[in-house]
Amino acid sequence: MSAVQPFIHLAGVSKSYGKAHRKTLAISDATFDVQPGELVALVGPSGCGKSTLLKILAGLHPHDAGTVRLGSDTHPFDPARDIGMVFQAPLLLKWRRILDNVLLPAELLGLPMGPTRERARELMAMVGLAGQEDKFPYELSGGMQQRAAIARALIHDPKLVLMDEPFGALDALTREKMNLELLRIWKESGKTIVFVTHGISEAVFLGTRVVVFTAGPARMADNFQIEFDRPRTLDIKTHEAFGAYTRRIYKLLGME
């Protein structure tokens, strides 16, 4: 066997919402593989089904047709504890201190608290929140809160982290900074990440692979590797290849 078994395998996945005669197609033709340790960016306009696909991967919604396979022989996957989620809003619990917010998934899973608290402190340091453990969410800026949300998504050591426009609500500068931070965190944690965004340049900058979706009808339009040296810096945004990638996506979305 030369080909490595993919960590995520999707083939012809589709889903629609609504009753029999008034169905809305939420996603169709989703076919792509994700290797362990990849950071895949799903990009497309609103209503293209990228968030729906994320929910299918999280096991929150069933799909109507096609194959969804998570995990492989070398990378077994437990749907109950191998998913970490980050949303557009940090969704921190206002009444909990940051450290206790980070611990929430561990509590839900009933992990032993002693070592987990230690891990939470390490993760907070990794996402750049050392010293903020005892603060309440309202004492942190939006970018800091989102860092805490990322630490929370990693606390139970999931194999797959699903991110739904995690930096969409941040200002442009904070967003660029968080992109760099995410690449560092991704490298340090070695997680497989599926990252949903409608930012084309964000997708190209972050992704090892970009999967493009179009709306009306909602379907997957393209799936390609992004080749840049690692570690990536903001410099690559000025490279010719970067422009070529973004042009390719704009074209697919009918914006050229």
Binding site: G59, M85, F87, Q88, K94, P105, L108, Y138, D164
Partner: protein, 256 residues
């Protein structure tokens, strides 16, 4: 230190405003030569505490029992019912619309009925305070328990969190600020309920005393009764504020 100073100044101004009102009251009566039976001076008012055989202490205790008793009952029943509703959607759909309608009844109009059913005394007046205080607590608690971010729900579901975990870790603490918002409104209403009850029929209490001394035009005693009723209300409201301060994180508090 700066913060402490500005806070102290803030409180000092509040105390000053009260003292100014007292002064204005004194000057108005003194300079206007207002007759005592129309408006007594502050000194005459506080003098009423030592004048006559009004059993102030007994009456204060009776009214306080009605207010605090009715309020405590409203808190237990209001929060209790709201909790039942979160666990039974059927019951909620069935009973909540009914309660919204019942809330429209001016509770004061129930007074004569309550007297028919329970005679007069401490119990019916407690019931009066209860009936008027229970609705804001019940309705805001039910609302608070319903307010839950869909993405947060997804986060819990992706980790296969149980319904009980969702309730104890997210719903209940999330509803706390709402419960307090309802409790603050109810604190003011409970006082009004008890006094109206005493007006309609009773043989003890500060409201009863007011009707008694009205006959003899002992206006200073009426003034004193109003002040004591207000103080009882402030004690209850203050207690609620103190509890809120202890139990709800600053940022999560709902204005009310």
């Amino acid at each position: 230190m700066e913060d402490f100073k500005s806070k102290l100044g803030h409180y000092a101004l509040g105390v000053l405003a009260h003292l100014l009102l007292l002064l204005a009251w004194y000057l108005f009566v003194k300079l206007g030569e207002v007759p005592k039976f129309v408006m007594p001076s502050p000194a005459d008012t506080f003098g009423a505490l030592t004048m006559g055989n009004y059993n102030w202490w007994v009456n204060i205790r009776v009214t306080a029992t009605e207010i605090f008793g009715g309020y405590a009952l409203a808190l237990v029943v209001g929060v209790g019912l709201a909790l039942v509703f979160t666990w039974s959607k059927l019951l909620e759909s069935l009973v909540l619309p009914l309660l919204v309608t019942l809330n429209m009844i001016p509770k004061v109009a129930l007074g004569p009925l309550i007297i028919v059913w329970f005679k007069y005394g401490v119990f019916p007046n407690t019931l009066m305070a209860f009936s008027i205080a229970v609705f804001p607590i019940l309705l805001t608690t039910a609302r608070g328990l319903r307010e839950i971010e869909p993405d947060l729900l997804d986060l819990v579901r992706s980790l296969r969190g149980s319904r009980w975990q969702l309730f104890t870790k997210i719903q209940l603490p999330g509803a706390l600020p709402y419960i307090f918002a309802g409790m603050k409104v109810a604190a003011i209403l409970a006082v009004a309920g008890a006094i109206v009850g005493e007006f309609l029929g009773s043989d003890r209490g500060l409201g009863y005393l007011m009707l008694q001394v009205q006959v003899t035009l002992d206006t200073p005693a009426m003034f004193m009764a109003v002040i004591l009723i207000t103080l009882l209300g402030m004690a209850l409201y203050g207690l609620v504020l103190l509890l809120e301060r202890l139990m709800v994180v600053k940022d999560a508090r709902v204005a009310g």
